[in-house]
């Protein structure tokens, strides 16, 4: 609070005149807080401990070695008695008013203090939850995008296999096509050759038939009627002889 006044005046003192820089250097040993801004120093979670609402605990700890536990209270009582007896502080109507308003303030703080503290803590929790939610959501988004990236990388690895398979496929198609065409060519060639063979066979058969016909015709035409009669008579004589021999064989 009042330290802000000090800070402002200190910053104006630094820049002003010859004394400013010297003061900055000379007071370096008196500075207690860390002089760098990063990382941001953590704020204390609880306020300073106080006794009876106003007096800091450090004061009691300061007096404890010399005066024990009752030291500060004796100091307070003595101070009050001194002020009253020397009439430095005069008891007048303002004292009654001071006691009244002091009582009202203490009563209000004791009664409504925890309520206010809870309310402030609730607001604090809400703000913290919002900040946490923002942090969590951005963390989860980043994690999801990391996973998606990894999946894409895995897909890229598999791309080689995919291309190989496709290449094989295409090669097989080409092979099949080529074999089909070879087949076709073979069939066509065979058909042509078969035709030629059939043609040749036909030729030979016709030649044979023609020759047989010619031979038969010439033989038939060369047979005279005399020869025909002679051959027939010979045949009958042969047959008779055969009949006799067979009869003889059958009887034997």
């Amino acid at each position: 609070m009042l330290s802000r006044l000090v800070l402002l005046s200190a910053s104006s003192l630094k820049g002003s005149g010859p004394i400013g820089a010297g003061v900055v250097q000379a007071t370096r040993c008196l500075r207690t807080s860390s002089q760098s801004l990063a990382p941001v120093p953590p704020l204390p979670e609880e306020g300073g401990k106080v006794r009876h609402g106003i007096f800091p605990e450090e004061f009691f700890q300061l007096l404890y070695p010399k005066t024990g536990v009752t030291g500060p209270y004796m100091l307070g009582t003595g101070l009050l008695c001194y002020l009253l007896s020397k009439e430095i502080y005069i008891v007048n109507h303002e004292t009654i008013y001071a006691l009244t308003i002091g009582g009202i303030i203490v009563y209000c703080v004791k009664k409504f203090g925890p309520g206010f503290a809870e309310f402030a803590d609730k607001i604090y929790e809400e703000q913290l939850a919002k900040a946490e939610a923002a942090k969590e959501s951005s963390i989860s988004i980043l994690a999801k995008s990391i996973e998606a990236e990894k999946k894409e990388q895995w897909r890229v690895e598999g791309r080689g296999l995919l291309f190989d398979a496709k290449r094989n496929n295409v090669a097989m198609l080409l092979e099949t096509n080529m074999r089909e065409r070879l087949h076709m060519v073979t069939n066509e060639v065979k058909r042509r050759l078969d035709y030629q063979i059939a043609l040749q066979n036909l030729h030979r058969r016709m030649q044979q038939e023609h020759m047989i016909n010619w031979v038969e015709k010439s033989v038939v035409s060369s047979i005279t009627p005399q020869q025909e009669k002679e051959s027939i008579a010979k045949c009958i004589a042969d047959l008779k002889a055969l009949a006799k021999t067979s009869q003889a064989q059958a009887a034997a």
Binding site: M1, H93, E94, I123, Y124
Partner: protein, 227 residues
């Protein structure tokens, strides 16, 4: 014992140095500054909550061009409420018991609203001088009356705050003086007087907050008419 009950309202001097500056600067020194962290402590959280609620409340009925006044009104409210509440502590000085301070707040702000109204929408501002539905014979008289009420506004603003706080402080001093004087003489009566003092103190706490709020509320109303 004070010479007169009005000595508490004298501008404090110390070795000839007027301490009015310290009295006026005290709220700025005592109230916490918004910190650069994401989340602040309890005191600052409550102050931020109060400031945002108050600004929402005051500026809800005002149209968008009037939102420039948000910083002014909120800081004025914080100042007045802090100064009034600090003045309730014993042996303290309240600057807002001085008419000069309150008129110094009231007149420039009221005048600013009037000038803005007259400059940006003169016919609408002048139309405010005649309420709707007045019978025709009454129009001249009513315009004069409305003009007078327009010019009385800053006076009323300043004097209202001054009078309320001065009267309250005076009463507190008076009744505590009565209780103090009666204490050795008639203790029971003193106790009754003291109970009256307690009630009055509670009232004064309420009045301190309410008067600050009323001051700023009326200014926001004047702004609403003219912006």
């Amino acid at each position: 014992m004070t010479v007169s009950l009005f000595d508490q309202f004298e501008s404090p001097l110390f070795l000839g140095i007027p301490l009015m500056a310290i009295a006026l600067v005290l709220p700025w020194a005592l109230l916490p500054k918004p910190c650069s962290r994401w989340i602040s402590g309890r005191y600052l959280t409550l102050q931020n909550w109060f400031i945002s609620r108050f600004t929402h409340q005051i500026f809800q009925p005002i149209s968008h061009p009037g939102y420039k006044w948000a910083l002014l009104f909120t800081s004025l409210m914080l100042f007045l409420i802090t100064v009034n509440m600090l003045g309730l502590l014993p042996y303290t000085y309240t600057p807002t018991t001085q008419l000069s301070v309150n008129m110094g707040f009231a007149v420039p702000l009221w005048l600013a609203t009037v000038i803005i109204g007259m400059r940006n929408q003169p016919s609408l501002s002048l139309a405010h001088l005649l309420p709707e539905g007045t019978p025709t014979p009454l129009i001249p008289v009513l315009i004069i009356i409305e003009t007078i009420s327009l010019f009385i506004r800053p006076l009323a603003l300043g004097v209202r705050l001054t009078a309320n706080l001065t009267a309250g402080h005076l009463l507190l001093q008076l009744i505590s003086l009565a209780a103090f004087v009666l204490l050795p003489i008639m203790t029971a009566t003193a106790f009754l007087t003291w109970s009256l003092l307690v009630l009055l103190t509670l009232l004064e706490i309420a009045v301190a907050m309410i008067q600050a709020y009323v001051f700023v509320l009326l200014l926001s109303l004047y702004l609403q008419e003219n912006v």
